[in-house]
Symmetry: C2
Subunit: 139 residues, 2 copies
DNA sequence: CTGGGAACGTTAACCGGTAAACGATCTGCT
DNA sequence: AGCAGATCGTTTACCGGTTAACGTTCCCAG
């Protein structure tokens, strides 16, 4: 297997596991925090808007929303002006998770970047950005 | 969301999509190629060995193996000396995929690293390696 | 005003992955 | 020799994600 693909895959997997563990300490599962983050940034968005913001398909959001609603972290309410739309609203419990989850996430970021010098970190971000752009542009 | 985590997540997703598309052109799904790669490197391994080599749990391998067996790419055969063990053996069809899949994978790696200079690529690999190591060592 | 297309969210069917429980086999110790 | 514990693959039950099909609702052209 090519060098970068191999390394990225391994890093990705262990990073995912670390993020999952961090978020799970607060009763969430990986991905659910992203949906909540979209609502922390702006409450009352629609599933479609959230899906676009989080780079996920709409069905993924509706399933996550169902679970988060069952957990009492958000509420589904119809849009008063357009009945096709559903808007997701944070409950107090959902809003209360913002500080601890964001702290957890920052702590993980710090743990990672602590192993790098400032210039290493800058180079890494630049390279990753280039790769992301190249892939988005397509072949 | 912290900067590196955000960028890595996005890059990871688009990279996964690209790899999936590449491998799907040959009738495979993402992850199945990793299992096959483990057998190309050494045929007749057990699910547990493959799981360790690919950084995946054993049940994941048995499920993939079932699908690959149904597709006629590998065979399950019992170990003659230890009846607990099952060994996975490539069929000719499974072996025939090695060249095209590896080419596809190399092409993707090239497409990615083409956007980087030699030193950028070296720095990227080094930084990713550091991060991987830091996460594996744990908190 | 009315019909047809567009824009939504949801559902269903998959897939890869995990953790936990299960069942069969081997092995080491007394 | 025989039993207890370790080892291994599979099954089951989840979860997040995708694509495709579906049912509503809105909106606009005729």
């Amino acid at each position: 297997m090519p060098e970068f693909l191999e390394l990225h895959s391994k890093t990705s997997k262990v990073l995912r596991a670390a993020a999952d563990a961090a978020v799970q300490r607060h009763g969430l599962r990986l991905g659910q925090d992203h949906l909540l983050a979209a609502l922390w940034a702006e409450d009352g968005r629609t599933p479609g808007e959230i899906a676009a913001a989080v780079n996920v398909t709409t069905p993924a959001v509706t399933k996550l929303a169902t679970r988060l609603a069952e957990a009492g972290l958000l509420e589904r309410r119809p849009d008063p002006r357009d009945n096709r739309l559903v808007r997701l609203w944070l409950t107090p419990a959902g809003r209360a998770l913002q500080v601890p989850i964001e702290a957890e996430r920052q702590q993980l970021e710090d743990r990672i970047t602590a192993t790098l010098t400032k210039t290493e970190r800058a180079h890494l971000l630049k390279a990753l950005g280039k790769i992301h752009q190249a892939l988005v542009d397509g072949p």
